[in-house]
Point group: C2
């Protein structure tokens, strides 16, 4: 029902003033003789497995109380977002993930699906919610045990305990293992002493730290009996009821940021702050009253990664939010491009609609295809996440696959978000730069998504190491063991469907779709061969280059690895692109409706060819494409773009955004109305007989007479 | 002197803690056995022809009154920037361009050089100055005649007449010829009636329009005696002394923007507003008291482009400001990358300095090379501009060359600014997202540079049309005339040095530098052949594709042109890249000092190879590079990057920024100080004998005992 409401409110974009001699395709699918997508069905597909929850969340944020106010000063914006968090908790938005016994719904997939949509209201709301429930709350839930849950989960859920997630330090971000904060156990008092030994060990960039956090989950080196057992997480009260820091706790405001200024990021430091032994979140490591340390996971490294892995949901959530934010920018830019006219074509007709320009199709439509791929990939990721966190499929292998998948997809979707939002804003010219049209705000807010919750390059390097070790496992040989030893120690795994990294070189399930795209040059199986073959080759090349590492000194081996860091990251990116392409393809192949499947197959082809074009030099150098074939890739893309042009409005309408989600005046139909007014003015003037003649026509006339 | 002061104040980055087993090159040129640049000499080179003026401007903006306050609310920011403009006028910063008789210095090059530097203080200051003096003031000066100069120039200069430049309309941005505002002459009263006939014809996005403008130079269709003589510029009072709109004038605030919020952009509309005949800025077109129109330029099209061309300085200025803003971001990110450490290398030594990572070198150093190229190219552009506007070399051809050059360089430098600032900010992780570290603010403010003063894609298309017509002139044949007729009508031209588009295929002056870069794979002349050959081939390909246009209907011809729009824009981009490369090469070849020339030759090679790598697929498809040669390009780049790594700090120090220009805490040396503190803490702890042992070492020990 919500969905129907959405589409009845959209601007009437299918009414079109015909322009004789228009240089390209029709503007809407209705005008074209083409097949056409079933918009409502595609909305279902894009909203995915937890579409119901996403629709609920979208319905909730139609309330203007949740909307970002552009240009609001930081202090007011922070208070507004805090109020929104309370409102969200009242709406039950914070309870989906928790177990039933704490008033929750124990529905992990739905929980993240609902949170992702908040990006449409205000990304600060999305991220501050993420801090409170996804990071701070999850740390208590995932790293704590029943006693902690009983003590704090309800307060966290209803926001009576607002908290910060204190992991990153000024001196150490991505390298969490090296943080400086210490938690030293004192058996005399059965307390941990939380301490910041130097300035670089201040906790930094923490949401809720500057103002609202009463408590924090603090990551620190656990020291007991003179031994450092590595990083563990502690529940540390920060402020009293009046908001004043407790004794020994101090901090600073991070001040204005590039975006997300509705969140009170700040710094914290601790001067011998004592907390009860109880406050160690001790699911993976316990300290007895006498100070004896114990853990079910004997390896310190594996224990550390297990704790960190429990917090993977941040990345899953960012992947989805970035995808949805990108969709909003594309909805705005393509709706505008389908109405705005500029310059006559030289054919003496009306001015040309922006989306009829070859360049405009080329700059936006491949990004639309990419965004569709991200929706399908994110749904796969979300299902994987739900499987693990619901306990239905919670094995070590599944957890590692989930982490690898999140580490692969989050970088691509967040970078794509920035690139796409920027292109969308530029495609709208000066009006794209006005805050009211949303795109600049989205770019500002989503900027940090590429470096937080795991810096994108660091994440891709992790994926690359996983690919190397899988490769070594696959081709066990004389040097493979050494190779595995050098790269990260991870077992071979199964990603999306528990079926392993899709066997390299294996073709995807062919559901008779081959014929549909053959005329556009590269069929589905050829696209897959090219994309998958590239991953395989790149991984094999890096593995071969690193093979001598086992015979080198550690310093030399490190230097060798460093000299191939760029290629390893590129291999991981290629792998992530393949995952997105496969998810899109699986999604398309499951569609029953012919028109929808046809149009989305074109869109998938555009995505595949866009990827192949991006890496065309690689395909040529590695003999995967002839120069003739390579030369035709760009032409195929142009033809696909022209073919998809009439479907552009349907495809962005299928995002299912209501006017309350879009809110950008340039996507409201105002542009079309202004053009109609101008046209009527000129027509009336011409009819009145009082229109001035142009100097040019005058010159021509006088020339004819002369 | 200013320069010496700059460098004595810079953080002492040459002190370095040696790290045994560091995986890459030395951190400073002083440590390397390499040649080394003469930093002061390179600063001179970068500051270029009007270095003196740029140093004066930099000295002036050391005054904190000129600095942007991060996070300042819009209303206060607007007032602050207005105050800065008054301060600037008091410092004489507004008088450099004007003729001596109005208290000016008649020094056009110096004028723009000085304005460009304001971007370091606050881009809003740079652009609001540009609105007042570069657009509004220039319109009066360039499009008006002596009577207008006498009446208004002094007031414009001293800011007693703040004004807006009212060209763009809501309905028409890049397509100025199609604006809707009318100026109808009434011979009865000898007045022009300025009128906005419909909403789409509201003037929009105008700096100074929302609040501060008392007057505007309004572009409107000049109608007299029932004939429309096309777009002309009129001087139209807007507000009274108290800031209230005059009768018939109305407007709106554009509100919050993606950046530049120190400028009061707004909209204006006119309801039959009468102004004296005197107020037509009549240098290129006059209306006599009886309404008779006259002009020295009989062709309406050429007259229009002449008027618009008089305003080219905005693009020249943006090219320079974008280049300087980019330099600031690179200075910050590379200084930080040279201090910040993260992750140990696996070699058991100290954590690795970011700039030692292969990926970090790869992501920043080619952008540094590109920025250097932009400095050299901008100085050439500035000299060209000065030649034309001083009258020393003011011919139609020179003006057209200047416009083409500006239209080619401004898009590249402004896009590069956004890409580079973004990469710089990401390279600094979370601290890069804090406003205090400058990069996010630079990105926000410079965002609109890519779409205003000529949308980048529209500008490149103009350049592409010029290339086509030059090509047709060069190869006059049966179809060439038709080709020229279809593309923009421009004569063949001379760009940088009045020597023509450097003859395609011609090698650059070889001053014995060939041998220097041969070991890195592609010598100077090979780089030039590849870059220039690509331009020639792309232009020839588009020309061939468009040849049938002459035999087609206007609508079909327009469709054909549209289907090659993307390639035409790419050809123009290739041309602009070649111009940058040539400017860099000419600059390098003129250097006397061996060390400086050597290092800058590597940097130029890195730029050239970076361009070739970007277009590698094209070179392969077109048979310009063998696959073997192509495969080695990336390796050459890696080696050049590693070779340049020790020089990175020298190269960004050579920008000559003082701490008052940089202002980013992360580039202040604070990071190094924090590391020193942490290192001392750990050393003292170890010395005390009370340092906890690690669990790992304990396990090893127990294993050994067991």
């Amino acid at each position: 029902m919500a969905d129907a409401a959405v589409r009845t409110k959209k601007p009437a974009t299918s009414k079109r003033t015909p322009a004789g001699g228009a240089p390209t395709a029709p503007h809407t699918a209705a005008e074209a003789s083409d097949p056409r997508i079933d918009v409502a069905r595609v909305t279902d597909l894009l909203l995915g497995t937890w579409g119901e929850t996403r629709r609920e969340a979208r319905e909730m944020i139609k309330n203007p109380a949740f909307w970002r106010i552009e240009g609001q000063p930081m202090a007011e914006h922070r208070e507004r977002v805090l109020t929104q968090l309370h409102l969200l908790a009242e709406h039950g938005g914070s309870r989906r993930a928790l177990p039933e016994e704490y008033g929750g719904q124990n529905n992990n997939g739905a929980n993240l699906a609902g949170f992702m949509e908040l990006v449409l209201a205000d990304p600060s709301l999305q991220i501050k919610s993420g801090v409170q429930w996804g990071l701070f709350g999850s740390a208590v839930f995932q790293l704590g045990t029943k006693k902690h849950h009983d003590a704090w989960l309800r307060g966290i859920m209803d926001l009576s305990i607002p908290g910060a997630f204190a992991m990153t330090e000024t001196g150490h971000g991505s390298d969490v293992a090296a943080i400086g904060t210490t938690a030293t156990y004192d058996p005399e008092t059965e307390e941990f002493v939380i301490h910041t030994p130097f300035r670089g060990a201040w906790k930094d960039y923490l949401g809720n730290a500057a103002l609202h956090g009463r408590t924090a989950t603090v990551f620190a080196q656990l020291i007991t009996g003179g031994v450092n057992y590595g990083v563990h997480c502690f529940y540390v009260p920060l402020r009293d009821e009046s908001g004043e820091f407790l004794s020994g706790v101090g901090g600073e405001d991070d001040g204005v940021k590039g975006g997300l200024n509705g969140i009170d990021n700040g710094r914290l430091h601790f001067d011998q702050v004592r907390i009860p032994r109880f406050n160690l979140l001790d699911r993976y490591g316990q300290v007895a009253a006498d100070g004896t340390y114990s853990s079910d996971i004997p390896s310190p490294g594996r224990r550390f990664f297990t704790m960190l892995g429990a917090l993977v949901q941040g990345r899953v959530s960012l992947d989805g939010a970035a995808t949805t934010g990108t969709a909003l920018a594309l909805h705005i830019a393509l709706t505008y491009a389908n109405q705005r006219r500029q310059f006559d074509s030289g054919a003496g007709t009306e001015e040309v609609v922006l989306l009829d320009y070859g360049k405009h199709q080329r700059r936006l439509l491949p990004l639309l295809a990419q965004n569709y791929a991200q929706f399908f990939a994110n749904d796969e990721l979300l299902r994987k996440f739900d499987g693990v966190f619901s306990g239905r499929a919670d094995t070590t292998d599944e957890r590692e696959d989930l982490e690898t998948l999140a580490a692969a997809l989050k970088p691509l979707s967040t970078w794509n978000a920035l690139d796409t939002i920027q292109e969308a804003r530029e495609a709208c010219g000066g009006s794209g730069f006005l805050a009211e049209n949303r795109m600049v705000g989205l770019h500002h807010d989503l900027d940090v998504y590429v470096t937080f919750e795991g810096d994108n390059n660091v994440l891709l390097q992790l994926v690359g190491k996983r690919l190397l070790s899988d490769y070594a496992t696959q081709f066990k040989g004389k040097d493979a063991a050494a190779l595995v030893g050098f790269a990260a120690r991870q077992t071979a795994g199964k990603l999306f469907h528990g079926a392993g990294l899709r066997q390299l070189g294996q073709t995807v399930a062919d559901l008779g779709s081959t014929a549909r795209s053959v005329e556009l040059g590269l069929r589905e199986d050829q696209q897959h061969d090219l994309l998958a073959g590239r991953v395989q080759q790149m991984v094999a090349d890096v593995a071969a280059a690193l093979r001598p590492a086992s015979r080198l000194s550690p310093a030399e081996a490190a230097a060798l690895f460093n000299s191939h860091q760029v290629e390893l990251i590129e291999a991981a990116r290629a792998h992530a692109e393949l995952l997105q392409w496969e998810a899109f393809t699986d999604g398309v192949n499951g569609i029953g409706d012919d028109g929808t499947r046809q149009v989305l197959t074109w869109l998938r082809d555009l995505f595949g060819l866009h990827l192949i074009e991006k890496h065309l030099a690689w395909y040529l150098i590695n003999g995967r494409l002839s120069t003739q074939r390579a030369a035709s890739v760009s032409r195929y893309i142009d033809r696909l773009a022209a073919r998809l042009r009439p479907h552009a409005q349907d495809l962005v309408d299928a995002y299912g955004f209501a006017p309350e989600h879009v809110r950008a005046p340039i996507a409201s139909g105002a542009e079309r109305a202004r053009q109609d007014e101008a046209r009527e003015y000129h027509a009336a003037l011409a009819a009145s007989g009082e229109a001035p003649v142009s100097e040019k026509s005058l010159k021509k006339a006088s020339h004819a007479v002369g």
